[in-house]
Point group: D3
Chain length 172, copies 6
Amino acid sequence: MSDGTSMARRTPKLSHLNERGESRMVDVSGKDITTRTAAAEAILRMEPATHAAVVQGSGPKGEVLPVARVAGIMAAKRTPEAIPMCHPLALSGVEIEFETGLKHDTKGRAGIRVLVRVKCTGRTGVEMEALHAAAVAALTIYDMVKALEKGMEVVSVRLLEKTGGKSGDWRP
Amino acid sequence: MSDGTSMARRTPKLSHLNERGESRMVDVSGKDITTRTAAAEAILRMEPATHAAVVQGSGPKGEVLPVARVAGIMAAKRTPEAIPMCHPLALSGVEIEFETGLKHDTKGRAGIRVLVRVKCTGRTGVEMEALHAAAVAALTIYDMVKALEKGMEVVSVRLLEKTGGKSGDWRP
Amino acid sequence: MSDGTSMARRTPKLSHLNERGESRMVDVSGKDITTRTAAAEAILRMEPATHAAVVQGSGPKGEVLPVARVAGIMAAKRTPEAIPMCHPLALSGVEIEFETGLKHDTKGRAGIRVLVRVKCTGRTGVEMEALHAAAVAALTIYDMVKALEKGMEVVSVRLLEKTGGKSGDWRP
Amino acid sequence: MSDGTSMARRTPKLSHLNERGESRMVDVSGKDITTRTAAAEAILRMEPATHAAVVQGSGPKGEVLPVARVAGIMAAKRTPEAIPMCHPLALSGVEIEFETGLKHDTKGRAGIRVLVRVKCTGRTGVEMEALHAAAVAALTIYDMVKALEKGMEVVSVRLLEKTGGKSGDWRP
Amino acid sequence: MSDGTSMARRTPKLSHLNERGESRMVDVSGKDITTRTAAAEAILRMEPATHAAVVQGSGPKGEVLPVARVAGIMAAKRTPEAIPMCHPLALSGVEIEFETGLKHDTKGRAGIRVLVRVKCTGRTGVEMEALHAAAVAALTIYDMVKALEKGMEVVSVRLLEKTGGKSGDWRP
Amino acid sequence: MSDGTSMARRTPKLSHLNERGESRMVDVSGKDITTRTAAAEAILRMEPATHAAVVQGSGPKGEVLPVARVAGIMAAKRTPEAIPMCHPLALSGVEIEFETGLKHDTKGRAGIRVLVRVKCTGRTGVEMEALHAAAVAALTIYDMVKALEKGMEVVSVRLLEKTGGKSGDWRP
C-alpha cells in the first residue's frame, strides 16, 4: 500500500496532516479552554574554560545569561511565526532558569541547562513554545561566546512535562 | 578579583560584551565584505514507529519534511530577530537536506538529521543562521508528529563547518 | 457638501474610519465571541507548459505546492501585521487546498486555484485572514516558477463564504 | 518517467527547487550587484457606490488610500518573511500610486488600480516585492470598505515591468 | 545587604523579576478577564516652520499624520514583540488622534500631541500598548519631516489613564 | 493656494512625500555607500524610590537594565518594520548605555538616561534606528517597574549626533 491516502489512514494521529497527507493548522475550535503548562530543557555543552567565561560573563556586570533569557522569552511568544503549524496563543507566563553546575559529560565538557516553563489558558498546548524558547536561549548563549569555542553543542532539547488539555498530563 | 572590568579583561574574546560586561551588537563595520558559508546540523531522535510515520508522511503526498524545510529556511532569514546580538545579513542562499537513514542510537531510537548550508556575502559570518535554521527545522518535525511521541529529543545541534571571514575556515 | 464630517455621515459603515474620516482599529469589545469561518480563493493563470512544471514540481519529490501551502498558512497568522486595521486573532484552524485541473481561460491559460478556509472563535471575522492567505499562497507559486514565465497573473482573489458574527452568513 | 530526478532535469529553470525537486533559497552569491526595478499592479473591482465611498473616504479627511499605501510599502519590505524562498533585500525605494478613474468592467463594476514601483541595488530582482505590495495594498482597501461590500474582487495582480539583472529587462 | 534575594524581598512589586531578580513574563493566568483601557500621549516639539510643514503635509493631499497614525496602530499590535516582558494580547480597539494646535513651549517651539487610546478584554492591562503606539507615532512624524529639522524632540511620553483590572483605575 | 501640489512645491525637503503629498519610501539608490553613525538619547523620569528599585533591580542579580538593553538593540534592528518609510539597513553595530546618576529635575524626579549609538555602512542614515532604540529601551524600563509608579515619564527622546552621508555631520 504505497498511496498517500492509505498511509494517512494508518497514521491518523498526525493531526497537522489531513487525510491526503497535506499540511494544515489543525482545527482546535472544538477543544476546551483549559490552563495548560509545559516545561522543556536544552543543554549546551562546552569546554570548561568556555563555561567559566559564560558564568563570569553573567556575573556582577556581565550579561550572557540575562540576554539569553530575554531571547528565550521572546522566542516563546514568537513560536507560531517560527513553527508553521503552531496556533497563535496568548501565553500567560514564561519563566527561564539556567543551571550552570552540571556535571561534566563523558567527553569532559561542562554544561549549562536551560529550563523553560510556559503557561497558557487556551485551546491547545504550549509544548512547542517551551521547546522553541529553550532552543533559542541555548543558541543565544552559543552566539555570545562562540568567539571562544565554535564547537559547543546543544546536546538535548526535550519536553520535560506537559499538563492540561484533553490528552492530560505527560512526563517522560 | 570580583569586578566586571577585570573579568572582561580576562575574556577579551566575548565580542558581544563590552569592557564593562554589557551586551552589544558588536561593530563589524571595519570587517571585510567576503563570501562566508556555514553548515550546521540538528539530529532528532524518536521511536522507530514515529520515524516510519515521518518518512511516510513525507512520501508521495505527505508533507512533514517539506514543511520543516520551509520553516528552517524562513528561520535562517529571521535569525537576527531571534538571536539578540546577531547582525542583520542579506543571505544569498540557504539549503536544507534531511537524512532519514541514520543508524539507531544506543537507546534503539531512529533518527533524522537536518543538514543546513547557508551562504552570504557580508561583514560577518552565518554560523548562527545555520544553527538556528537547523534547530527550528528539527522542532518543526517534532511539532508535526508530536501526537505520536512527545518524548522525541533533539540530541545534537552543532556547527559542522564555517568558511570565509578574518578568522578563516573552521571544522570540528 | 465637501467637508469630511458630512462624508463620514453619509458612509457610516466604513467602520475603520471614525466620524472625521480618520483610520482606527475599530473597537470590537462589545461584540460576542462566536465561532467564525471564512473561505477565500485566489486563481493563478499561466501558460500550460508552466502549469505542467508546477504540477510536476509538486509531484513525487517536488515541493512547489507544499511550500505555497506553508506560506499561506503563515500569512493567515500574520494578517494583522500586514493589513493595518485588522485585529489580532487567535486563529483556531487554517486549511489550504490547491485545485490544479481548472479549465483553460479564454486566453488559453491553464490555472491553479488556491482555496483557503480559516476558523476562529473570537469577536471579529476572519475574511481578511482567508483573503491574505490565498493571495500569498498564489504569489508563492508565482515566485517558485517565475523563472519559466514572468507573465503569470493572479486573476481573482475573492471571498467565497463567511459564517458567524452579528452580520451573519454571507455568500456571493 | 515518473521519478523526481528526471522531472527536475526536464524543468531546470525552477531555480527554487534543487535537482531532487526540494525547495531551497537559491544561491545568488555569484550574481552581480546591479540596480534593479520592478513595477506591478493589482486591480480591485467593486460596485460604483463602494467606489464612491473609497474615493470620498480618501478625500479631504478620509484615509482609505493613505492607509493602503502604507500597508503596501511595509509589505514590500516584509516580502522575504511572506514568500518563503525570497532573498532578504535592502530596498532602496518604493512608490505606490492609486488610479481611481478606471472604466467600469463588463460586469458594471468600478475599479481601483494599485501601481507599485520598487527599486533595489542588489543581487536579485524585486518582482516579488512589487507584486506582494500591490496585493497587500489592494486587500487593505478591501478591509477598510468591506462593511459596504464583501463581494469586491482583486481581478489582476501582475508584473508590469522589470529592469536590471542578468536576465535583463522584461515587459509583458 | 547586598545579595539579590534580599533586594527582591524589599521590592516585591517588580512583577517582571522573580525572587532572584531574574526577568520573567509574569504569570497572569490567575487574573480575571476584564475590559481594560489605557490612554497615553507623546508630544513632539519642533520649530514653528517645521510644524507648518507637517500640518500642510497632512492637508488636502499630504500624508504625514495618516502615516503616523498607521504606524502607531501597528505598533500597538506589535508591543509584545518590542517590549520583552509584555504579554501577547488580543487588542479590541486602537484610536489615535493628533492635536496640532498646542501652545508654543518656553523655547518657542510648536508642538504636536499624539493621543492614543487602546482597549482590550483580557488578563492584563494595555498601558504599554498605548505608550508604545504613542512613541512610534511621534517618531514617525519625526522621520517624515526630519529633512527639515533634525533637532525635533519628543518631550513627553506618558500614561494618561488606565481602567480595568485588579489594580483598578488610574490617572496621574 | 490650497491644492496639494503647491504645498509640496513649497516644502520640497519632505523627502518621504512625493510632489502630490503622497507618502513613499524615497529612492536612495543614487546615494553613496558611506559609513554613517547616529547617537540618540531618551530620559526617563521617576520618583527617587522607583529609581532606587531600578538600580537595585539591575544590581548583582537583577535584570531591569540588561533587559532594556536587549529590547533597545532589537528595536534598532526592527526600525524599518516600525517606522513605515524607513529603509531596511544592515546595521553594523549598536551600543546602549544607561546613565543612572542624573540630577533630579525641577519636580524632584530622579532620572535614567538611555544613550544609543548605531553604526551602518549604507546609503541612508541611522537616526531613526537610534531614536527608536532609545524610546523602546526607555519604555522597557517603564514596563519592568510600572507596578511601582505608573506616572513615570519619558521626557526627552532626541538625536544627539549624526555623522556621514551627503548632508554631513550634525549636532544640536
